[in-house]
C-alpha cells in the first residue's frame, strides 16, 4: 500500500516548534488571559471598588466631628477603619470570584482543555492562584487607596487630618489588601477541591459567615479560641491594630489556612480523573 512510503516518525508539521513548549511564563500568561477574558472578573473587581469607595464615603460623611484634638495614632486608626470598612463586604465578592475562577473551568469542561495543554496539572493551579492573587491585590489596594483619597478631605473637615506619609497607615492598607488575597486563595482551594460552583460558594461563604457565628454561640472558652483562629477573624489582625494577633502572627495563620485548602486541592487535582 502507498502508506508504506510514509516515513514512520518524521515530523509532518509546518509550525516551527523547535525549542518551544510548556514554560512557567507561558502558563502564567495563559491564566492571565483566562482571568481577563471573562466578564465575571470585571464585574467582581468593579463591584469591589464601588463597595469599598461607597462605604468609605458614606461613613466619612456620617462621622461626628472630633471634640478634642486627636492623637496621630487615633487619626491613623480612623483613616484605616474608614478606608477598609468595605473589606467586610468585598471579601464576600472575592470569595465568590475565588471559587468561580476554578469551578467555572470544571462546570464548563474547560478544565479538560487546560489539563490537555498542561498535563502535569499542578502548574495550572499554581499559575491560576498566583495570577488571581496579584490581580486581587492590585484591585483591593487601588480600592482602598481611592477610598482613603476620597474620604481624606471629608474627614479633614471633621478634624481628622491623617498624614499621608504615616507608615502605619500604608502598612494597614497593604494588610487589608493582603487579607482579601488570602480569602480569595482559600476560596480558590475550596473551589478546586469541591469542583462545583454552588458547593464551593456555599462552603467558602459558610466559612466566612456561618462558622464564626456558630463558635461564638458556643459558651465554652475553647469555642472563643477557635473562633479567633478562623480566617475571617484572624485575618483582620492584618490591618486592625489591637486585635488578637500581631500582624505577623495573623500572616502565618492566613498562610496556614491557604495551605490547608490549596494543598489538599492540589493533591486531589493531581489524582482525580478530569
Amino acid at each position: 500500500m502507498s502508506t508504506l512510503a510514509q516515513p514512520e516518525v518524521a515530523r509532518a508539521t509546518h509550525l516551527d516548534v523547535t525549542g518551544r513548549g510548556l514554560s512557567p511564563a507561558g502558563i502564567l500568561r495563559s491564566e492571565w488571559i483566562k482571568l481577563r477574558s471573562l466578564r465575571s472578573t470585571w464585574w467582581s473587581f468593579s463591584i469591589i471598588v464601588l463597595i469599598q469607595v461607597g462605604i468609605a464615603v458614606i461613613f466619612a460623611l456620617t462621622t461626628s466631628p472630633m471634640t478634642t484634638e486627636p492623637t496621630t495614632q487615633q487619626v491613623t486608626q480612623a483613616a484605616v477603619s474608614i478606608s477598609t470598612l468595605g473589606v467586610l463586604f468585598s471579601q464576600l465578592v472575592i470569595a465568590v470570584l475565588g471559587v468561580l475562577v476554578i469551578s467555572g473551568e470544571y462546570s464548563t469542561g474547560q478544565i479538560r482543555s487546560s489539563f490537555m495543554a498542561v498535563p502535569n496539572r499542578l502548574p495550572v493551579l499554581a499559575a491560576k492562584a498566583l495570577v488571581f492573587a496579584v490581580a486581587t491585590f492590585v484591585v483591593a489596594l487601588v480600592a482602598i487607596v481611592v477610598s482613603y483619597l476620597v474620604t481624606m478631605p471629608i474627614l479633614a473637615g471633621n478634624g481628622v487630618d491623617a498624614a499621608p506619609l504615616e507608615p502605619g497607615l500604608w502598612l494597614s492598607f497593604l494588610g487589608a489588601a493582603g487579607y482579601l488575597v488570602f480569602i480569595g486563595l482559600i476560596s480558590l482551594g475550596i473551589g478546586a477541591a469541591l469542583r462545583s460552583t454552588a458547593g464551593g460558594i456555599a462552603a467558602s461563604l459558610g466559612l466566612l459567615l456561618v462558622v464564626p457565628t456558630i463558635f461564638q454561640l458556643i459558651p465554652a472558652e475553647w469555642a472563643g479560641v477557635v473562633a479567633s483562629w478562623l480566617p475571617g477573624t484572624a485575618g483582620q489582625s492584618l490591618y486592625y491594630t489591637g486585635s488578637t494577633f500581631e500582624p505577623w502572627q495573623a500572616l502565618l495563620v492566613m498562610l496556614g489556612w491557604v495551605a490547608v485548602t490549596l494543598v489538599p486541592a492540589a493533591v486531589l487535582m493531581k489524582r482525580r480523573d478530569a
Binding site: 509550525l15 510548556l22 479538560r112
Partner: protein, 308 residues
C-alpha cells in the same frame, strides 16, 4: 504513533476499557468504531492523560502524554466540543490555550481562518451551535500543529459542507504523515474517511484491521444469480460450504462460490443467466455482525493486525 498495552479502565464494578492493546500508525486515518459505551471516549481520554488507566499503559510517540515537554505540539485532541469556558470568546480561548506553549496570536488567527470561524471568533462560546463548537474544538486541536490528532466524533453536529471539509482535512493530515485517530458510530462515515479500523465492543478490541478487511471478514459476500433454470442451477451449485437461498422463483443468492465459478458452471451446463452480480457486504453490516455478539467474537481469533 499511539501504542496501547493492555489498557484497562474500571469505574467501580464497571469495566469501561478491558485490556485493549492496539497501535495507531502514522500516515493513515484510523477509526475507532463501536456502539455507545464501548469505551472509545474513555480510551481517548486515557491517551491524553485525562483519565488514569486502572492498569496497562498508553504511549504517544514513545512517551506517556504527560512526559512531553510540548504536549500541544505532539497531540491535538477534540474530545468534546464543549470543553471550553462558555463565557470566553473563541479567540481568547485559543489565545489562552496557545499561550501555555508560547503559541501567539498569529497562529490563533491561522486556525480560526482554517476552520472558518472568522465571523464568530470574537463572540462568546456559550452562544455557539454544536457545529461551531466542533469547528472551534478542531481549531484548538490544530493549534499546536501536532504530529498526532485525536478526534472524538468530530462530525457530530456539522452541516454537510462541514462533514466534507472534516473528511478532506483528516485525509490531508494523514497524507502528510501524521497519526490521525477518530471515533465515530457512523459506519458509513468511517468507510469514507478511515483507512484502518479498530472496533470496540464492551471495552474490548474485537477487530483491528484495514477497512477492506473488516468489510470482507465480517460481512458475507454473496452472488446474486438470476436464471430461468434457477432450480437446476441450485442443484448444480450444491456443496458443503455453499449456501444457496432463493429470493424469488428465478433469483438465487449464493454464498461461498465466486461469480466466475457460477458463470463457468452455468456455461458448461448450458444454463441461461439473466443476472450475475457480486454483492459486497457494507461496513455497516460488518460492524453489526462484529458487535452483535461480542462473546462469539472474542473467543474466535479475529485477524489482529494484517501485515502488509
Amino acid at each position: 504513533m499511539i501504542e496501547a498495552q493492555s489498557l484497562t479502565k474500571r469505574y467501580g464494578q464497571r469495566t469501561a476499557v478491558d485490556a485493549a492493546t492496539f497501535t495507531v500508525r502514522p500516515g493513515k486515518v484510523t477509526g475507532l468504531l463501536g456502539p455507545n459505551g464501548a469505551g472509545k471516549s474513555t480510551t481517548m481520554r486515557m491517551i491524553v492523560g485525562l483519565d488514569r488507566p486502572t492498569s496497562g499503559s498508553v504511549r504517544v510517540n514513545g512517551h506517556f502524554y504527560a512526559e512531553h515537554s510540548a504536549p500541544l505540539h505532539e497531540v491535538g485532541a477534540l474530545l468534546d466540543a464543549k470543553a471550553i469556558h462558555s463565557g470566553r470568546s473563541a479567540y481568547n480561548h485559543l489565545l489562552a490555550l496557545g499561550a501555555t506553549h508560547g503559541i501567539g496570536a498569529a497562529r490563533v488567527r491561522e486556525v480560526i481562518d482554517l476552520t472558518g470561524l472568522q465571523a464568530v471568533a470574537g463572540k462568546r462560546v456559550g452562544g455557539f451551535s454544536l457545529g461551531m463548537g466542533q469547528r472551534l474544538g478542531i481549531a484548538a486541536a490544530l493549534l499546536g500543529d501536532p504530529q498526532t490528532l485525536i478526534l472524538d466524533e468530530p462530525i457530530n453536529g456539522l452541516d454537510p459542507e462541514g462533514v466534507l471539509w472534516v473528511r478532506g482535512l483528516l485525509k490531508h493530515l494523514a497524507s502528510e504523515g501524521r497519526t490521525v485517530l477518530l471515533s465515530s458510530h457512523l459506519m458509513s462515515e468511517m468507510a469514507m474517511t478511515a483507512d484502518h479500523i479498530i472496533v470496540f465492543g464492551r471495552g474490548r478490541v474485537i477487530a483491528d484491521a484495514p477497512v477492506a478487511d473488516i468489510v470482507g471478514q465480517g460481512a458475507v459476500t454473496s452472488v446474486r444469480v438470476s436464471s430461468p433454470q434457477a432450480a437446476e442451477l441450485a442443484r448444480l451449485l450444491a456443496a458443503p460450504d455453499v449456501q444457496v437461498t432463493s429470493a424469488s422463483g428465478s433469483t438465487l443468492d449464493v454464498a461461498g462460490v465466486s461469480a466466475a465459478t457460477i458463470g463457468g458452471i452455468a456455461a458448461s451446463n448450458g444454463l441461461v443467466l439473466h443476472e450475475l452480480t457480486t454483492v459486497t457486504g457494507s461496513l455497516e453490516e460488518a460492524y453489526l455482525r462484529l458487535t452483535a455478539d461480542e462473546v462469539e467474537y472474542h473467543t474466535q481469533s479475529v485477524t489482529p493486525e494484517v501485515v502488509r
